[in-house]
Amino acid sequence: MKHKWAMAIDLDRCTGCGACVAACVAENNIPTAGEAEVEKGRSMQWIRVARYWDGEYPEANAVYLPVPCMQCERAPCETVCPVYATYHNEDGLNAMVYNRCVGTRYCANNCPYSVRVFNWRDHAWEKPLDEQLSPDLSVRSRGVMEKCTFCIQRIRRAREQAAAEVRPIRDGEVVPACVQTCPPGALLFGDLDDPHSEIARKLKDPRRFRLMEHLGTEPRVVYLKRQKGAGL
């Protein structure tokens, strides 16, 4: 059965707390690059919470924009990879084959959202931090590209569970780590092919927009615009 996995990000609800980033790091074996490397722009995090200032001090408001991989339907990263290390999988997700990647970094250049991260070095998990590594996915070596996968290991687990019980995947059964963790519930994940799913209903909201829509990448991550006014 085909799915059209999508994520909705309600900017009205996002408080910029960064819990999604922490959850993602814990779930996906993402190394901590360290202060010096992060300062050079080499943070390894798959989702970033971009912060912009709206207005001038002292009336300045922080505006937060969580940016994971957009899982574009027409992904610019895929066409430029010379070795098919990044490709479109059967669910329409942009998947990465780490072992195939030679590290040309062209995909990262061609991603208008700059969400791809590169392993500038080999990373180590000092004891006892290595205990937290998830056995569901690999640890990436130096020289390969990586990025948000919509927690593909959780999608697979749900699919196997559903197959074992001979039923379709239920709405809400697949929850990526960031969505699961988000304290104000700004993130929502689901299947757009299922017209009764929560996300399909949520995305009828007239506040919806997609990031840099004019580029024609058709992202699977949809934002709900922040409303100005009372309560903000």
Partner: protein, 463 residues
């Protein structure tokens, strides 16, 4: 080249004059080669270190995923557009002054391509897996992705390298035969094998001329396509400042521009090192100067056309990139503009400059510097000021990158010096042919060179 006309009186003397580079190596030669080899080894060490430690030892980051390695790659491939292309065009247009510069320029193409072609391999994150980009049969039935401009690049550069090497070798066969006839010892055996039994019969010469015309015609589209494709590496990407239809012709123009400057510098060095003053005269340099002047103007025109459209349009993403040219990247932008246009163009408009070798070399050196600045300016700021201001970041190369760049220069010089020691660095037979066609005629109180040349179609083999 006129003057004493050695060829008509003494072909052996001419040969010895033109092949001084092949004299037994002196202590100074070994010293220079040794020093260059040391620099190459140092760069190799840095490369191995980078491979072991990861690309983190460079200054690269997100979003500047490509840096000086890619800029240098474009630069070297650009320099390669001097030799074979110029040589082919001059052959086809039957420019009589071409003979002394052919070989040196063609060799330059071969070696700049070899050195430049290494950079994409140096640049990639897992160099030891580079062969994934080669279409070899494998159990997973995986093929490289031919939609990727990087694959177009690999194909184009390999084609150009093979073509240029063939062109270089083919053009050298008559000279290798001459060298064989003059040589003794191991050189005799060396040249005998390489000359492929060329004896200089009428039939051989006729075929040689037909084939060299065909080669020259075939190599021109290859050369143009190579730098167009290098331009498309950038232009195909969804990156503001890169995604531009003008890039292919603009890159080709820039490539020929820097290539001519490179040829001038190499020619001046050869002239000085091997005392070729009688062969490489102001005629060659002045003509190269004229070409350089025209290319400077053409480059300026392309840059202006690109700048004007972005400036007028003020598309915010693109404008942010261009704004950084006046901000963080101002030193780089100024070096580009001043060294590529503001100084060389007015300079080269003056006949006095074009006829003075030191002045022409100064202008050429400026152009090489300016074009290098341009390559960095194309690669880096567009990435550094991309779409989302939250991740904007600057980039500066580290000592590892700079060492590898230095060793690439050393590698080029080393290859060139060894080549000049082993092979006739001046196209002896072409110079001879040119001298046979020339006669001195007294016109009034002065002597003027008069040139008899075959009909253009006569060279094609029918005549």
């Amino acid at each position: 080249m006129s003057g004493d006309h050695l060829a008509r009186t003494d072909a052996t003397a001419l040969f010895h004059e033109l092949t001084r580079s092949n004299l037994p190596a002196t202590r100074r030669w070994y010293l220079v080669v040794g020093l260059l080899a040391l620099v190459v080894l140092w760069g190799l060490g840095c490369f191995v270190y980078m491979m072991k430690a990861g690309m983190g030892v460079t200054g690269l980051n997100r979003p500047v995923m490509w840096g000086v390695f890619i800029a240098t790659f474009v630069f070297w491939i650009g320099l390669s557009h001097s030799g074979t292309l110029i040589s082919a065009i001059l052959r086809l247009t039957n420019a009589t002054w071409r003979a002394p510069i052919l070989r040196g320029a063609e060799a330059m193409t071969a070696f700049t391509l070899m050195v430049g072609g290494l950079f994409p391999l140096i640049h990639i994150g897992r160099n030891w897996r580079f062969y994934y980009m080669i279409p070899y049969p494998n159990s997973r039935e995986l093929w490289p992705n031919l939609r990727s401009p990087l694959m177009w690049d690999a194909v184009a550069i390999n084609t150009y390298l093979l073509g240029s090497l063939t062109f270089l070798y083919f053009g050298m066969i008559p000279d290798l035969a001459i060298a064989r006839d003059h040589a003794t010892g191991w050189r005799k055996r060396f040249y005998t094998v390489l000359a492929l039994g060329f004896r200089g019969t009428h039939n051989e010469w006729r075929r040689y001329h037909v084939a060299s015309t065909i080669f020259a015609i075939l190599i021109i589209p290859v050369a143009v396509s190579v730098h167009s494709i290098v331009g498309w590496d950038f232009a195909m990407a969804k990156v503001p400042g890169w995604h531009s239809t003008i890039f292919a012709p603009y890159f080709v123009t820039g490539a020929i521009f820097s290539g001519i400057a490179g040829v001038v510098l190499v020619m001046a060095a050869l002239r000085k090192a091997f005392r070729l003053e009688k062969t490489l005269t102001t005629v060659q340099f002045e003509n190269l100067g004229k070409l350089l002047c025209m290319m400077s103007l053409l480059w300026g025109y392309f840059y202006f056309a690109e700048f004007l459209t972005v400036w007028y349009n003020r598309n915010p993403e693109e404008w942010e990139v261009f704004r950084s040219y006046g901000g963080h990247y101002l030193p780089l932008w100024l070096s580009m503009f001043v060294c590529n246009f503001a100084i060389p163009f007015p300079m080269l408009c003056m006949r006095r400059v074009r006829r003075s070798i030191p002045a022409l070399c100064t202008a050429s050196f400026l152009v090489v510097v300016g074009m290098y600045a341009e390559r960095i300016l194309i690669v880096v700021p567009s990435l550094a000021r991309r779409n989302d201001p939250f991740i904007w970041n600057n980039y500066f190369p580290t000592w590892v990158e700079l060492s590898i760049l230095a060793s690439a220069v050393a590698m080029f010089l080393l290859l060139y010096i060894v080549f000049a020691k082993l092979f006739p660095i001046v196209a002896v037979s072409d110079v001879q042919e040119r001298l046979f066609q020339a006669t001195d005629r007294a016109v009034g109180g002065t002597t003027v060179e008069s040139l008899a040349r075959p009909e253009a179609h006569g060279e094609g083999g029918r005549g």
